[in-house]
Subunit: 229 residues, 2 copies
């Protein structure tokens, strides 16, 4: 299951896109941060180790939060069980909203983005990763072989937004496919200014250390975005 | 060849993405406009019919410009043979830069975007379409059939930016693949503010009138972007 993934066992160090996501963050020193989909709390603890003033970690999974709490001894980190579909945040209470691979599970993205926008101070940052729509779109997401025997990734149903049910790690996990344009325009519509859009791929050094990441050069699996209120 | 395409024969009315691209434009009334890759001049004439003050149409093809001139009788439209790789524009001389399906032929995108940015007035608009990177990325761009016999589009080599040689309409046409992130970040780096990002797909009405457009729901062929200086 999920707890056996490199990113669960090793935390941020086990997530190959983390160096790129970190590069999009402002200096977290002194910031008030909310982590949407905090899982085991890796980012919450990293933020505090790097000087964040306080961190609120939110997740739907009570199981994950139990482990997050067990691995955290820091009064400036608070964990709270929350369904992002119903998220409420105090106005202007945060300088940074962070989210790693959680927003593609959210059906009502516009509602969530409006809540995050209101919850940030003017100039506050929203930095997040989601599964890339190229990765999610197809009816049968999985490598195919082209006429010359090489790996290629299928894209179809791209404009058909909405539910995608996969059987990765657990049966019947529901994700929500949105075009890249839809996600970016939803941010713009709520008043965010886009700062950076990255379709993550491995560096040469990462590829040398982890040859299996070559797949990630063929099609992007992660989309990283930074925006400011 | 190109002159037999619907968009060449019927102009803007033959380009299914035109209504979406038009929706991204500011009111052109009174604007000074430059059209990067004007082809037969359809957009230049449309802009004047809609009240533009003056339009400068630029294209590399002398043949296209000859036809553009022959079909235009309007002193406020000027056509000029120009290689976009070497584009120079007077500072702050334009209120709108427009480009339809030309920038993916440009190798030095950063240089071009810097020139366009300088050529616009503060608040001036840059609205363009290019071939979508999902459409361009693969070594073998063309429909495949999945295990259930359905149409799917291959994506590979996505992170491998640079030349793509195709044999569509003419042999050995060279285009430049860039990830969507690269194109958007290049705009941001030059100081543009992103206003809208659209991965074009047909409306229900277009699909009813042109059933062959169903393909365009499976994978986006065009990327439409609007930005402001």
């Amino acid at each position: 299951g999920y707890s056996q993934l490199a990113r669960s066992l090793k935390g941020l160090a086990g997530a190959p896109e983390w160096p790129s996501l970190r590069a999009l963050l402002p200096d977290v020193k002194g910031l008030r941060i909310v982590d949407l989909g905090c899982g085991f709390g890796w980012f919450c603890r990293w933020a505090r180790e790097n000087g964040a003033a306080q961190v609120l970690g939110l997740d739907l999974s009570a199981k994950m939060l139990t482990r997050a709490k067990a691995e955290t001894s820091d009064d400036a980190i608070t964990y709270q069980r929350t369904d992002l579909e119903r998220l409420e945040l105090p106005d202007g209470a945060f300088d940074l909203a962070f989210s790693s691979l959680a927003l593609h599970y959210v059906e009502e993205l516009d509602r969530l983005l409006a809540t995050v926008h209101r919850g940030l101070t003017p100039g506050g940052w929203f930095v997040f990763s989601i599964e890339h729509p190229i990765f999610m779109a197809s009816r049968q997401p999985g490598w195919m072989t082209d006429s010359e025997g090489r790996r290629t990734w299928p894209v179809d149903s791209y404009q058909l937004e909405g539910k995608r049910t996969t059987h990765w790690l657990a049966d019947g996990v529901v994700k929500y496919h949105r075009t890249l344009g839809t996600t970016l325009n939803a941010l713009l519509r709520q008043g965010f200014t886009l700062r950076h859009v990255e379709e993550w791929g491995p560096t040469d050094a990462q590829l040398a250390a982890h040859p299996e990441l070559a797949e990630e050069r063929d099609r992007p699996m992660f989309l990283l975005v930074s925006a400011q209120r």
